[in-house]
Symmetry: C2
Subunit: 408 residues, 2 copies
């Protein structure tokens, strides 16, 4: 990626999943969430799209995941995603699959398109059958609008405290192309795929193979590098829909604009990944961990993920406690090749450890680097040129409180 960020894209103010041309969304309260908040929606393109998806690796993948994955495996095309919050439709086996199919059919009928073009995404409690009467009742009442992205982002929230949306525009061969996206977090978040629901819509024209590789590349560097609690959901799904309405020429792996598009896609997904980590259940701080000097990027990824995933380090972060031994403890558990005599650590701009031992930096100075909503750490392994970045959050009493009584 040689283009600088500013050459690559323009951040759109008030961006949403419907920022690209020809995307609409609608949402309402169908009564799936006990709170009575919005919980059912459709996100759709006016015309069929090239589509790609990544899904949870959990062996108990939910009904909507099984149905969506099957459809994208059959053909890389889709025109809409029907989604709900309040019920994950997971651990419902055959009934769950049948209910997910019916949700797609209801949405297809509403949109006047083939059910094969509708993907399904659900989030919420596991192991409770989907209240299909409420879905059947709500679907016809949905109104899809070109400015409906924000409403959709709200309806997909579970324990999220804020909506998570981002959109950019970029130039592809003289054509203005848009990428608009939304996502939801915030518990059961651990990188072994997309780790959440994310919908990315673009009016670029994408070759199906390029859409797939671009999405996988970017997801591996963004959504798959965040950790909230180390638990991988049964429902993680990330969808990329490209409808070509910008009129820009088709991007393939070898196109001149391909790298620029991937870079812009990464900007969008990085923004959403950071927003998810920062809004992790009960989180008060975003933790960004850079790892350098690893023998490979793959080792650097292991280390970065281990550090942001350590319960002990996350608790220390909450207390702004520069207990740096916990960072090395996590590094040592990562499975990556390390030399205890060469590792170095920075918290913020302060170097805490060098050649594996303390620099003698004052605890107060280190603590000062942990104030604020965002804390940065860097681990240098001193072995090679492998690098990676990961995001996480602190572990707080609020996480425990929230997760002690979620189903009740």
């Amino acid at each position: 990626m040689t283009a600088t960020a500013s050459e690559t894209f323009t951040l759109l103010p008030d961006g949403s999943s419907t920022s690209a041309l020809g995307f609409r969304a609608g949402a309402l309260a169908a009564g799936i969430k006990p709170s009575g908040r919005p919980d059912l929606g459709i996100w759709a393109s006016d015309v069929p799209c090239v589509a790609a998806g990544t899904f949870t690796q959990n062996a108990f993948a939910a009904g909507p995941v099984l149905v969506s994955r099957e459809r994208l495996n059959a053909a890389p095309r889709a025109q809409a995603v029907v989604f709900n919050a309040g019920n994950a439709n997971a651990c419902n086996t055959t009934r769950g699959i049948a209910d997910a199919r019916e949700m797609a059919e209801l949405a297809a009928r509403k949109l006047g398109i083939s059910a094969d073009l509708v993907l399904v995404a659900s989030t919420g409690i596991i192991g409770v059958p989907m209240p299909m009467d409420r879905v059947r009742d709500g679907m016809p009442r949905l109104e899809l609008r070109p400015d409906g992205g924000h409403a959709a982002a709200q309806a997909i929230m579970t324990t999220d405290t804020r909506q998570k949306e981002c959109a950019v525009s970029l130039d592809v061969d003289g054509h203005e192309v848009h990428i608009g996206a939304m996502t939801k977090g915030v518990g059961m978040i651990y990188p072994n795929m997309a780790t959440m629901l994310a919908f990315v819509g673009t009016d670029a024209t994408l070759d199906p193979a390029f859409a797939r590789t671009a999405l996988k590349r970017v997801v591996d560097r963004t959504f798959n590098m965040i950790t909230v609690d180390g638990d991988t959901s049964t429902n993680d799904s990330c969808f990329l829909l490209a409808n070509g309405l910008s009129g820009a020429p088709t991007l393939t792996d070898n196109s001149r604009g391909a790298e620029r598009f991937v870079a812009a896609l990464e900007v969008v997904c990085t923004d959403l990944a950071r927003k998810m980590a920062a809004d992790g259940e009960g989180a008060g701080k975003l933790l960004q961990v850079d790892v350098t000097g690893a023998t490979s990027d793959s080792d650097a990824r292991k280390v970065a993920r281990a550090v942001v995933g350590s319960s002990l380090l996350k608790a220390a972060l909450h207390g702004e406690d520069p207990n740096w031994g916990r960072v090395f403890m996590a590094v040592g558990n990562s499975g990556a090749q390390v030399d205890p005599n060469r590792a170095a650590l920075w918290i913020g701009t302060l170097q805490i450890a060098r050649d594996g031992v303390t620099t003698g930096a004052a605890a107060d100075a280190a603590r000062a680097q942990m104030h604020g909503d965002e804390v940065a750490m860097r681990v240098d392994l001193g072995l090679g040129s492998g690098a990676a970045r990961a995001w996480g959050c602190d572990l707080t009493e609020a996480y425990v409180v929230e997760n002690s009584a979620y189903s009740t």
Copy 2:
């Protein structure tokens, strides 16, 4: 293991690490812990012992681990363990190794034995040099007594709220043999070896190879099956010392009494493992998870460890919230072979899921099974005869509070 528990051993009331013949221990407050509590001790046999050890897999293994491992690799013999709490002597690289060696020399001088026969174990904060002046000052003042086990168990505590000791006697070819042990928990606990400090002393006579295999077999089924927070310490060490003072004949892998000895050793280590899980930092409940019906014992172990390790499930346990989908979520993330349509779940005696879906058991009835200090769950995968058991604890606000400010 065909012998029943009662045939195998007798639990000794008031048992400790000095319950076996010829073991003594002493401890005092050397000023390593800021609290002024006891923090330095020696646990020793009157005569040299056959010895075996298991150690942390963390790549940043602490100085005392490196020194002890090296000694046991050189020869399976030891006579004493010098230990301290309040400072882990980890992430101190070469200085840490030198300090651990000096601790062994100081203890050897005190005992009048060769330093090669002294193992070292430290626990406490990482990345701070060991205050050797205090160790040098304290060591000569130690008094070792045959009833010193309890004092040693106290001195090794960090955030433990209670001492953890256990002893049994058993018959080996007409000779009464004793096994006495102590351990400390309770944070940075995750099974990838011994996950803590554990000292096991016996007056049985053990062949060195048998001592090693017996310890490994038992550790894999006990200490390696507990999880507190998924973080593996830099300092985990488990030592088995056998001094032969019972006069019983030497046990080898093929001895008639070998299985009985291993069974008794497992009883002791199971008791200590359960005590560690129950006393996990901030824990209010012990969780015992049985997995049956796996395609292999190895798969069953993966599933059991994944379930007791899930932050979300641990938080639900704290709230006595029968959010059973979190159990299957964890099972699905374990990497074991599963069939979502065949999995079954019991909480206590109540069956919650069958063939992958809810049995419709009432939430109140399920919640009632989660009252009390101990909660049992069983997952049956319905695939084969693999089985395993693991222990963990709930995730509470107190864990967060305790770990937000440990170093301060």
